[in-house]
């Protein structure tokens, strides 16, 4: 581990979490809180990657399943499942993760831009990859969580209906 007291400007802190055995990180400044799964209310006709909404102390938050969103197979929730409540540019959104691990300090210099073909993840919200001592941390920029296609899907929902599955997954693959 690096010296935890290093306060140089180019050290960033990330919350790391697991989705489908891969480790991801988001900027700690965007994370509002981490909660255990609560009852999710489905929103009819919403795109596939929107799991539904929850009541967080009187606020309505949309919940997005990162597994679905990142193109991994779905899985039932378990003991370790956590919802990462993140403040995006224009609203607060909850992301379902398999588990949340720790807070990591990452030097800016160890962050490399996302390789185009390295992962099966849509590059829209890839911020880069950080090389840790023994592993790679995929840094997400969740503001890009809705790509153009999805925003179109969100706008264009009027047209389609029963077929809400393929659109989102096609875009994520």
């Amino acid at each position: 581990m690096r010296d935890p007291d290093s306060q140089t400007e180019d050290v960033r802190q990330f919350v790391s979490f697991i989705v489908a055995e891969e480790e991801f990180g988001v900027d700690i400044l965007t994370v509002q809180e981490i909660i255990r799964p609560v009852e999710i209310t489905r929103v009819p006709h919403a795109p596939d990657f929107v799991e539904g909404v929850i009541n967080l102390r009187g606020r309505i938050l949309p919940i997005i399943d990162l597994r679905t969103r990142l193109g991994f197979p779905e899985r039932d929730q378990d003991e370790d499942t956590r919802i990462l409540v993140v403040e995006l540019e224009d609203q607060t959104v909850g992301f379902i993760t398999d588990s949340v691990r720790e807070v990591l300090r990452v030097e800016e210099s160890t962050i490399e831009p996302a390789p185009d073909l390295a992962t099966n993840i849509d590059t829209h919200f890839l911020r880069g990859v950080a090389k840790l001592e023994e592993r790679l941390l995929i840094l997400l920029d969740l503001d890009g969580i809705f790509s153009k296609e999805e925003e179109e899907a969100l706008q264009g929902m009027e047209g389609e209906e029963e077929s809400d599955a393929p659109a989102a997954q096609g875009a994520a693959a």
Binding site: T41, P44, H45, V53, G58, P62, Q91, V93, E162
Partner: protein, 636 residues
Amino acid sequence: MDEQHPLHDDGMQEIVESFVVEATEIYDGLEGDLLQLEKTPEDEELVDSVFRDVHTVKGTAGFLDLEQLSTLAHRFEEVLDAMRDQEVDFVPAMTDVMLCAFDHMKVLTQQVIDRELEPLDLEPLLDALEAINEGTFEAGAVSLPDPDGGAPQDVGGDAPESTEEAAGGAESGSTETAASSDAGSGSDASSSSDDGGGRGDSERKAPDTIRVEVSRLNELMDLVGELVLGRNRLLQLITDARTEHDARSDADESLRLDSLLSELEEASDKVDYTTTDLQSAIMQTRMVEVGQVFGKFPRVVRDLAREFDKQINLTVEGEDTELDKSLIEEIGDPLLHLVRNAADHGIESPEERKEKGKDPRGEIHLSASHAGNHIIIEIADDGAGLDPDVLKRKAIEKEVLTEDEATDLSDAEAYQLIFRPGFSTTEEVGQVSGRGVGMDVVKTNLAELNGTIDIDSTLGEGTRFTLKLPLTLAILQSMLVRSGAETFAIPLYAVSEAVRLEPDMIDTIQEGEVIEHRDRVIPVMRLGEVLNVQSPDAGGQRADRFSDKKDAYAVVVSVAHRRAAVVVDELISQEEVVIKSLGDYLKSVPGVAGSTILGDGQVIMVLDVGEMIQHEELTAEAEAVEAEGSPAASSK
């Protein structure tokens, strides 16, 4: 303007802001006063009031170095001063000059708001004002500039062709054609604009009011919404505790607990009442008088009357009826459409009216009133009325309807045709080729406000549009229903009734299911299917619960002219819910108006029935082609 101008001085911003607010308030009342002045130029008090208003604007404008505005206001003020001293022989055409001055003041003030000063060509206007002041004013001798930079208008000319679209039109020379220039007419309207002016005045001087930003009130609304939810939860928990307690009969323990519970119930009752009072008190702070919107119509009608060369008298009633600020902002445009429509298509030309034996002066009546939790706004005219046969014929021509369909339409249904997109009604009355008055837009706007619009018309006698709107957008009376494992809220305004479904009530007509109810054939919408109530996290309970028709209910909904029987599994209760937005990402989800949090913390969807029906209609065709005769979940 250069950067040294006080408008761009940081230290002056507060003064600029308060000037803008004050001026805007003044203009609201001023226009009505000017129109009134046209009818009663000898009313000294009125002249005084107008003078004070203009003087106030002049003062601050001078202080802020707004040269054009202060010059204009100064010249205007001189005219009013001369009128006050009865040095002016008033002719109605002078009103045009004053209204023109008023329009220019507004434009100049708007420039201040935009922080972009652009000199206007005021010379002709200033000259006209000067002419009035010096007694050399002649109707027709001056042409006034259009504040928006359009072509100059002639004042007081006698050619009827000069009726232009722009504000402050022409043709004031002949009192017969001008709607509001006849002093004997429109006593209601006159008194209303009097009220308007008076009220504006006293508001400005009243020491016991403060100005509050709307966003702060919204915040209070949100907070009290939370409080209501908290209260509901509290009440529910206490009820649960009471039930639990009553179920056990452990004598000794019970006595103490029982008295504790009673006290708790008492205390929570108090909280309950206070919360309800607080909620209505806060809603009250957001209430504004509908007169704010009505206030601009006397001028609109005056201008329209000139434009269409008609005589129209506007009467206004119930302008002190209050409704939520957010609604006030939204109803302005729909109302304007309807008033234009009445003036354009409703009221006939004076000649035509005379032929029909009517008063050549047409009447538009605008009224507002409360009915329970709703406000009713009516726009009635005594014009030509709607002809169902003409409407049907047009609908067939435009291929909106087939001939068979048209024959089946009742008159009331035929009236509703004017709300169809692209259905122009210009031919129906004939003489004025319409600017496309988008009645379909009116309807859509109202639907967005959870409002409805009805038409009542008698051929030859007139048309009445009745708008019904909720008092507020934030709180909605709803019916809670269950479909499958999910609960939904259906806004009560859309619900006509709820009926228990017997297995043989549903018929199938051309692939579609319908029920016959009260002599109407109503299409069936199975909520479970429409909303895909079978989400994976419902744990495999899936759709089988609602295919069991035994216990199903149909909620008959009607929004505008659309009807549907929404089939649900259970009717739960009627409740007042606080609507919460789903946020930007989900706001365009079809058929969902928003969400709400129930007393037990559960989130449920509030349905937008109109949109849901529309969405179904759109997808129905596609599905019919695709799924030739295999109706998905309705199989038993």
